[in-house]
Symmetry: C2
Subunit: 411 residues, 2 copies
């Protein structure tokens, strides 16, 4: 037995297509790190009947419910009201929370609209959770069998409150089972072919459990184990990984639960290498994902998004003859782009992508999904081509980015 959690994301904007719920995935990852088993995410609108039902349902099934959103100052922010209604009592005003809200606003030179007072109201029996990075305080309250933690929907605020208040409170609850994870990152086979290869491991009830995840052409084998201690769970996962490794060796390119861009930055830093990018079909995606990693500026010199042939010549010194002779989507052009970026940015390592992401632009010889890559390091210059399945522009671009992560991790 262990603690069961459900995660509740609240807001019309999430249901009606204006905003993607990224909080639930983040919260699930953090809860699982401390051994909570997450069973379900629910995303609900602000509609009072819907929200009330979602709160009651989640609190009847789980030991821990983490809710995000609906704590803002406007009238369509109803998490406080509905929790109070479910608990059958009036809300109470917390002067300390109100003081924090006023301090936070005035320190930033903002006037304090009276509507913000709503954010200092709490359901009966609730414990306020102070918000050091925004106006909306959270709260913890017991509803049904569950301890419910209500957090603001702004990701940064949610993250701070989760780490400072929620995780310590949940870790102190009785009934937690220690859990560990290990991931194997695979590029190459289809999901079915990989599944066939490791089928004996994918039986229901196995501990550690083994599953496959597919995203943008990247396959991840997830090993999740529970045991009497965290160390024992980690050892069990490591043992399963050791059994799996020989079966998938030819396709395996990274291990661990770290995000791939973080892993790339870490690896470059260890080697003391700086990086430059020359992106055509990936159009800035590689740069954007790398610059999401704090501290990347120690490694990344910069990049060029060379979308037109002219810009490949003007900014990356790709010879016009190469473009005429081989076309923009070719290994010689990719190699020249990487060499040009390496020289222009005075970087140790440079990579290049040039391909046809679609939906248009394909030809019989170079169909949509054809992407040429190159890498230039102090030790080598290499160019290669991958025919990515034409599963849409996003898929082709994502798969091309994974190809680059693999190449950078292999240098």
């Amino acid at each position: 037995m262990t603690l069961i959690a459900e995660i509740l994301a609240i807001g019309d904007e999430l249901i009606h297509g204006a905003l993607l719920d990224t909080n639930s995935k983040y919260i699930a990852g953090e809860l699982e790190r401390i051994g909570v088993v997450v069973h379900r995410f629910v995303v609900t609108s602000d509609d009072p009947a819907q929200l009330r039902a979602a709160i009651v349902d989640a609190c009847s099934r789980a030991d821990v419910v983490v809710a995000t959103g609906g704590l803002g100052p406007t009238l369509d922010d109803r998490t406080r009201d509905l929790c109070a209604e479910v608990l059958g009592g009036p809300q109470w005003f917390d002067p300390a929370s109100w003081q924090q809200i006023m301090d936070w606003m005035t320190k930033r030179g903002r006037s304090v609209p009276d509507s913000n007072r709503r954010q200092a109201m709490f359901p009966p029996g609730a414990t306020p959770i102070a918000n050091p990075v925004g106006t909306a305080p959270g709260f913890a309250v017991t509803i049904g069998r569950a301890r419910l933690f209500a957090l603001p929907g702004v990701p940064r605020e949610m993250q701070v409150l989760l780490e400072q208040s929620v995780l310590p409170a949940v870790a102190a609850m009785p009934g937690l089972t220690p859990t560990a994870q290990h991931w194997l990152r695979i590029l190459g086979p289809s999901e079915a072919a990989l599944g066939d290869r490791i089928e004996p491991f994918m039986v229901p009830g196995r501990n550690p459990a083994v599953g496959i995840t597919a995203t943008g052409g990247l396959l991840t084998i997830r090993i999740v184990g529970t045991a009497e201690s965290r160390a024992a769970a980690e050892a069990a996962c490591a043992a399963t990984a050791a059994e799996l490794r020989p079966l998938v060796q030819q396709w395996l390119f990274a291990e661990g639960t770290l995000d791939l861009p973080e892993l790339v930055v870490q690896r470059l830093q260890q080697r003391g290498h700086t990086l430059a990018l020359a992106e055509s079909c990936t159009g800035g995606l590689i740069a954007a994902r790398l610059t999401d990693v704090p501290g990347v500026s120690a490694v990344l010199r910069g990049g060029v998004v060379a979308y037109s042939n002219d810009s490949k010549q003007a900014l990356l010194a790709v010879p016009a003859e190469l473009l005429q002779l081989h076309g923009a989507v070719s290994e010689p052009v990719a190699a020249a782009m990487a060499a040009g970026a390496r020289a222009r940015f005075a970087a140790d390592v440079a990579i290049a992508t040039t391909g046809i992401a679609g939906p248009d632009g394909g030809s019989p010889e170079k169909p949509v999904g054809t992407v040429c890559f190159a890498i230039a390091t102090p030790a080598e210059q290499r160019a290669w081509t991958v025919r990515i399945a034409n599963l849409g522009r996003t898929f082709v671009r994502d798969r091309a980015v994974f190809e680059i992560w693999r190449a950078l991790l292999a240098t």
Copy 2:
């Protein structure tokens, strides 16, 4: 009355932090466009008891349930099995679906593992939905009060099956109420200040309903109306928009439900302008979001991600004196970056960003969140500074991107 929908996303990878569910938001948007009211998203693991409960729950509350995931060839793909179990009958093998799967794989030069046969099995009474872009067929089946549509989890495959099969089937169901939407995009005030301004419109039960969404500093006023016809619903939304416009005029910079990058590309195309980018703190985000838009190559010449001072000089011809005199995060440097990008890429319009995204790098004069922008067009050169609230690296970068969308839409 109208049709009520719930959306069910299935997969351990979604619950356990390996993959973000982007399908549900997409499906909700498409369903609402044809007048279905979406009440809830549920994300569940592959665990048989959990998945079974999630299917039964959703099908007891909604008229339409769209499920994604769990249709792959491996043993942890259980949507077919659990639907059959709920319906209390054995699965049946569909030779036509099996033929399609084999054709799809062999046409791509892949061998057909026997495990793929599982994908041609269906619950009792189900209607297979052919998949022209992948191996996993979907199916439609009636469970409880609901028509359940099971689609593959791969976004591109889901989108094709949704459009070709699910939306026409739902549109033909009795009981749909015509719906329309209108969005106003706002940059400037806090959510509370905007809420105060339009409070009389935000009353529960109003038709059209008016709500506020906040994401990365961008506020969206969503107007959603229902009426006896689509045209009448659109007219009601337009009337509400006309009442709101004078209240928010000073902050309003775009209208309509189009994504902002799409709107920017459209606007540049209308003007016959090409675009170049010089990104420092946004690090390729602007390029990546623009190159997500199919057909952007007609507009975008390219961009430079100039992360280091050296690269600002070498690739964008920013004078070293400017960098020394004002620092990299300054309006003169932003202006020089934009001018350099405009010249280098021979573009009509260029934009530049340079700022401190955090978490480190701030100073008392230039705290984290300080971002300088510039735009250069045939008509003007302009640079300005925004002090973005330090709500984390992602927030600062996203807010900076919205500032650029606003600037490009205003040219």
